[in-house]
């Protein structure tokens, strides 16, 4: 018996040991292949494939392999690839997911010259102030933004008129009004909501809901970074608001209804207001040109609670291109050259994909200023701040999600949900 066990262990070791000896060595000279993982976006694929062709033509020794992944799965794929020391050369994700790569030293600092800038300071200077802060650690910049996005409120004017409201004057400015207006807009069949007034962006609690708490004077993490979930009153009123919103309260919607931003473009008279970014315009145009041209939609600022102490809009978040620090110097340099080349087409990204690269040049361009409602988004960005990012941000978001769901759906009292949330968030913070 024991012999067999030993034999098995030996077999296992023998089978595995050669496999784990030594990593791969890349040659410094000669042809270079760069793998580039990004999330699925048909509009971007079209232009980026063209950039790759152009870039390869001007850099004959470099080949770029662009791989697209589903936007909800790319976090897991990049993570497991890095865990096995087989990460791609270039990748991009949302900053909350990328931050851990910087902290753990997995990504290389920007090679400003390769990316087409004379120096790091000129690079920093060409971007909107503060937009590179999330990727700056100890004075080094670790990523270049593909997009910086914030969300405001899209309104379907037809639905407002259908409910006897005047969209230009009756649109909600406060969260209280969002609830009131929604009550007027909602159509129910019994308890089942068939037309919703407004829908939250449920999975994105850090971007869209933490600001609501901040309006009331609460905080996710205290300024010194030691205390989690600050300000009982603010968190309680926020949770009570969500409880009121849910099926056990006024029944205005719930997280299991279909995403509003997907329905919004269809203009099927089933959603009046959706929270989303400037990029939605490109998607409305692609899905429903007629609705896009009709002028029956508009964008209004992120609402604020009536008794707000802070005027905060939705957080903005960024996607940053990053380069794998485990690759050879030549590969890293080639990667930054390629990223620099792609990002030199800011206006085309804005026009075809409706995403904003936060360079001062682009934000001051006519193209940006002429985009419908870009002023609303700019103003909201001034009012907002960057989303909370940290090694534990995904887990923190999960905890807030749990708290909101428990009051909205499971009938847990807000006090109790808050106590649970605080205890778990604090434990997480202490364990960092």
């Amino acid at each position: 018996m024991k012999k067999i066990l030993c034999a098995l262990a030996i077999v296992a070791l023998i089978a595995v040991s050669p496999v784990f000896a030594g990593g791969q060595q890349e040659k410094e000279d000669g042809p270079i292949t760069i793998t580039f993982w990004t999330h699925e976006d048909p509009n971007r694929t079209e232009i980026e494939e063209r950039y790759i062709a152009e870039f390869e033509a001007s850099h004959p020794n470099i080949t770029v392999e662009r791989v697209t992944q589903s936007s909800t799965k790319i976090q897991e794929l990049v993570l497991t690839a890095f865990a096995a020391n087989q990460g791609p050369d270039i990748f991009n994700m949302s900053i909350e997911d990328e931050y851990a790569y910087i902290v753990n030293g997995r990504v290389a600092p920007v090679d400003a010259e390769a990316a087409g800038y004379s120096s790091t300071s000129s690079l920093v200077g060409s971007y909107l102030e503060g937009s590179l802060d999330p990727v700056t650690l100890d004075g080094k910049v670790y990523g270049l933004p593909l997009e910086l996005t914030n969300w405001s409120l899209y309104i379907n004017k037809k639905v407002f008129k259908d409910a006897g409201l005047n969209p230009d004057t009756d649109y909600p400015k406060t969260w209280e009004e969002v609830a009131e207006v929604s009550e007027k807009l909602v159509i129910r069949d019994g308890d089942i909501v068939t037309r919703r007034g407004f829908d939250f962006r449920y999975p994105y609690y850090l971007v869209s809901m933490v600001p609501m708490v901040e309006q009331l004077g609460g905080q996710l993490i205290s300024d010194d970074g030691k205390k989690a979930i600050v300000g009982d009153e603010a968190w309680l009123s926020f949770l009570e608001y969500m409880q009121m919103w849910g099926p056990n309260g006024n029944n205005l919607g719930s997280p299991t209804y279909k995403n509003a931003r997907k329905l919004f473009n269809k203009d099927n008279n089933d959603i009046a207001m959706a929270m989303t970014g400037l990029y939605q315009q490109g998607r409305i145009r692609a899905d429903n040109q007629e609705f896009y041209d009709s002028g029956e939609w508009m964008v209004v600022p992120f609402p604020v609670f009536e008794n707000a102490v802070n005027d905060t809009a939705a957080c903005y978040y960024g996607h940053y291109y990053m380069v794998n620090g485990q690759k050879s110097a030549a590969q890293q340099k080639a990667s930054w050259e390629f990223i620099g080349y792609m990002l030199s087409h800011g206006e085309e990204y804005l026009k075809t994909v409706n995403i904003i690269q936060p360079t001062t040049e682009l934000l001051e361009s006519e193209t940006y200023k002429n985009m419908p409602y870009s002023d609303v988004f700019s103003a909201d960005m001034e009012r907002g701040h960057v989303v909370y990012f940290g090694e534990e941000s995904a887990k923190l978001q999960e905890l807030i999600k749990g708290a909101v769901e428990s009051v909205m759906l499971s009938g847990v009292a807000p006090q109790k949900a808050l106590a649970t949330l605080r205890a778990e968030a604090q434990e997480l913070l202490d364990d960092m």
Partner: protein, 294 residues
Amino acid sequence: MQLVQSLKTPIRSLKTAQITWQKALIWFLLILLTIFTLTPILYMFTASAMPAKDIMKMPYRWVPKGFEYENFVKAIKGNDGSFIFLRNILNSLIVAVTCAVTTVLLSAITGYGLAKFRFKGRNLLFMMIMATMMIPFEAIMIPLYMVVTKLGIQNSYTGLILPFLVNAFGIFMMRQYLVTFPTEFLDAARVDGMSEPGIFTKIVFPNCKPAIATLAILAFRAQWDNLLWPLLVAQSENMKTVPLYIVKFTTEMNTDEGAMMAVAAIASIPMFVLFFSLSNYFISGTAVFSSRKG
């Protein structure tokens, strides 16, 4: 005599009444379960022929007004118009068929070794193989991925197939099947001077047919269904499998329910074809598989 006869008749009719009542109940329950199992499938097929806004209408209209072929065009073309779905179907077929074949071969030979030979530690080995059924895949996902990347076979058919060459359940099934295989046949063949591999290929394996069919279908289905592993290993579009395409397709922004159901329907068709064409063999096959003792 007549009296006896007349006494008997009501008893008999009472009994038959009871039997028909029982039968009715059985039929009722069978039909109920049929409705339960088939409705969602029917729903998928009907919804795939409808525009999105009809699918979410209350009450649901079971007969589509027309045939919304748009859904199928969208499903096959994909949102980027690359027709990669067809390649993904091919990949799934390659992986699932290969795994089915290797599972059958390796299970049969291992099951035979465990059932018909005595050697030290045989039972322990069997137990250890059985214990792998208790390993949740999520638990070994990352170490397994490291093995595969070190072998340099990520993003390839080999990488998709290798971890699923055989499984504990297949070995278990073949062993159980072969335990009752008459040893006299084997001994007779040995006396005739047949080699051990010859005995396996000429006598044992051909006699496993019913179990093989069942096992092959199970292994095929498991791979056709596999989501988590291909998700990690298949990185480029042309290595991806059907479940990955479905996940990608459904999470994209502008996918509507109709096209989603069309993708689901197309993805299900190969399995249904296989199932219907082999069903005779499969259903009667399993019956044969267990009636060996009778």
